[in-house]
């Protein structure tokens, strides 16, 4: 079997579990949020690493974002990727999924024209659209399969499994092709600190701007994106928001006294609202 030339698309996202909230406005203090590799992208990279370890191969990781997004490329190189590509340019900012996939496709065509397999995470934790992978395949005019849970290389094709709307499917796809990987399997390995240090010193990272890709500012970024955000607002509904504090036992007595009817009607059963009633 020939060794696969793989491209893994990754994204840096804010660390969701440790988001610094502004309690006054209920919004995220994004400027102090730490970045991390998007979870599904880690699984995508793990899938590529397993193919490489089993059959050999070459892995290029590619990301688009601000200069600090290079961090996730270093992390990927530490874990075993061979080359990193950072697409960074103020003109690229604000791209929606249509334009993001357009931009990444042009970079892949320019830098890795011989690729066999593109692997993406099925969705990102910050926007969760799950659209960039399938759109990238369309842009590259290659076949694709989304939400893949496991895959095997069979020479000119790959075999894949996925759970799609209650159907467990086995699929076969011609290469070159693209898959998006879920977080169900391919549990990622972790980078060691010494490995990271080494990656920072000896790594192969190419930084490309719009100009390097030969892309005019009119066809990238927010300017070229068909969707527009009109307004952003809070979904905190107009609820009574009854706040209870103090001893747990007392709180619960009050919960059943005041809201026992809500609980019992949802259960479809009678509950005693007072502990000692009847």
């Amino acid at each position: 079997m020939t060794m696969l030339k793989m491209v893994v698309c990754i994204k840096q996202v804010p660390m969701v579990s440790e988001l610094p909230w502004d309690s006054r406005t209920g919004t995220l203090k994004r400027e102090i949020a730490e970045g991390m590799m998007n979870p599904a992208c880690k699984h995508a990279l793990e899938a590529a690493l397993r193919i490489k370890h089993e059959h050999g191969g070459h892995i290029t990781v590619i990301t688009m974002g601000p200069p600090m997004a290079a961090e996730v490329l270093y992390e990927a190189l530490t874990l075993g990727a061979d080359r990193g590509i950072l697409l960074t340019d103020k003109q690229m900012a604000g791209a929606d999924t249509l334009i993001t996939s357009f931009t990444i496709a042009r970079a892949i065509e320019k830098e890795c024209p011989e690729f066999d397999l593109v692997i993406c995470g099925s969705q990102t934790s910050d926007s969760e659209t799950a659209q960039v992978g399938p759109q990238l395949a369309e842009e590259l005019k290659i076949p694709s399969a989304a939400y893949i849970e496991s895959l095997e290389c069979w020479g000119e094709t790959i075999r894949m499994k996925r759970l799609s709307d209650d159907f467990l499917e086995t699929l076969e796809m011609d290469l070159p092709g693209l898959v998006t990987i879920t977080t169900r399997h391919f549990h990622p390995r972790y980078a060691t600190l010494s490995g990271l240090e080494e990656a920072f010193q000896f790594s192969d990272i190419t930084i490309l701007s719009a100009e390097d890709l030969g892309l005019s500012p009119d066809c990238i970024g927010m300017k070229a994106s068909p969707t527009r955000i009109l307004d952003v607002f809070s979904i905190t509904a107009e609820k009574e928001n009854y706040v209870m504090k103090g001893a747990v036992k007392k709180i619960l007595e009050e919960v059943f006294e005041k809201f026992g009817d809500k609980i019992s009607s949802a259960m479809g059963k009678d509950l005693k609202t007072h502990e000692h009633s009847d």
């Binding site: 969701v16 579990s17 909230w21 209920g26 919004t27 995220l28 249509l98 934790s125 910050d126 926007s127 969760e128 799950a130 659209q131 759109q135 395949a137 076949p143 694709s144 989304a146 075999r159 759970l163 799609s164 709307d165 209650d166 159907f167 467990l168 499917e169 086995t170 699929l171 011609d174 092709g177 977080t183 994106s225 068909p226 969707t227 527009r228 955000i229 009109l230 952003v232 607002f233 809070s234 979904i235 609820k239 009574e240 928001n241 009854y242 504090k245 747990v248 036992k249 709180i251 619960l252 007595e253 059943f256 809201f259 809500k262 949802a266 259960m267 479809g268 509950l271 005693k272 502990e275």
Partner: protein, 333 residues
């Protein structure tokens, strides 16, 4: 009376029909959107032997159904359906295309949008029509407890996906009539580059939590995998289901199928008990239809606490244990 406005299309996603009602829900929403400018509401359906679905769509609000019915379309192949949708949309030029955010729809819609070079908003929780005939698409946005209103001002069709369970279907109307437009399939369809080798129906507990009257949801604030198990005991007592947040699923405290959130399931229980969940938008966007929410968290400022009817400032694990005891005492045997 025949309407002359621009059409609103709903993609007919009929696989697993009795569980997947999203097409009917979208037809209801499209009917609502069409009131303003009198747009015809249309369904588009591909497959083999699909007449029963055509009738169903008409009974649920479709005034017109575009049908491609051919034996070669029976495989529910995404690639083929994308090609057909592109072809139809280029020919009939719909104003809007709505697609259910099933696994199939979430792969299908972005590829169609790409081929039509238009915008697509994922996982809308609300759709409205403004005075200019633009579709106001409300979708969860990153950065706190926020929703964004998104439009596609210039490009056509305006496209959106909506998760199952967000909208409510119209009652079945046996008297309804609709126009059926049978479109022949192209003479030569390209060969499938992705081939289905096998498919097995997995009738797991997939949709149970979506329909549950009571959901007990837990986050990292439960403390540990072992303590998280208590939520199952509580859910059993209440006759409910257990949901989990992303960090919990990633830590393997709960199965992926119980993930409540944008990447997981959308719920609409009468009662939601939320334990140790701070409430990132990816989670809370999936529970805005919960009727009554009791949240427990040590942090009174957590977004989940702010959106609750009752916010209990305490340790989630302790309150869970106490609640199990209290319910046991109060259930009338």
């Amino acid at each position: 009376m025949k309407k002359t406005g621009k059409e609103i299309w709903v993609f007919g996603d009929y696989r697993n029909y009795f569980r997947n009602r999203v097409t009917l829900q979208l037809l209801a929403k499209a009917t609502d959107l069409a009131k303003k400018a009198g747009n015809p509401v249309c369904a588009v359906i591909f497959g083999s032997n699909i007449k029963e679905y055509v009738n169903e769509y008409i009974a649920h609000g479709a005034e017109k159904v575009y049908v491609m019915d051919h034996i070669s379309l029976k495989g529910y192949n995404v690639e083929t359906y994308v090609i057909l949708m592109e072809m139809l949309a280029k020919k009939y030029k719909p104003e809007m295309v709505l697609v259910g955010a099933t696994c199939f729809g979430r792969e299908f819609a972005p590829r169609v949008a790409k081929r039509l070079a238009t915008g697509l908003t994922a996982d809308c929780v609300d759709l409205e029509m403004n005075d200019d005939g633009l579709l106001l698409q409300t979708a969860p946005a990153f950065g706190g407890n926020l929703l964004a209103k998104i439009i596609t001002p210039i490009h056509k069709p305006q496209m959106a996906t909506v998760r199952p369970g967000v909208f409510k279907e119209l009652p079945h109307d046996y008297q309804a009539t609709g126009e059926v437009i049978t479109v022949p399939i192209p003479k030569k369809l390209p060969e499938n580059r992705v081939r289905l080798i096998s498919s097995r129906h997995e009738s797991a507990r997939i949709n149970k939590i979506e329909d549950a009257k009571i959901v007990v949801c837990g986050g990292r604030g439960m403390g540990s995998k072992q303590k998280f198990r208590k939520l199952y005991a509580l859910a059993e007592l209440l006759g409910g289901e257990v949901g989990a947040t992303r960090p919990v699923v990633y830590s393997n405290w709960a199965d992926h199928d119980s993930l409540i959130g944008q990447a997981g399931r959308q719920i609409k229980p009468l009662l939601l008990l939320s334990f140790g969940i701070s409430g990132a938008i990816q989670h809370t966007a999936a529970l805005i239809d919960a009727k009554f929410i009791i949240a427990v968290n040590k942090n009174p400022d957590a977004p989940m606490m702010k959106m609750a009817d009752v916010a209990i400032v305490a340790d989630a694990n302790q309150v869970c244990s106490a609640m199990i005891r209290e319910i046991k005492k109060r259930i009338r045997e």
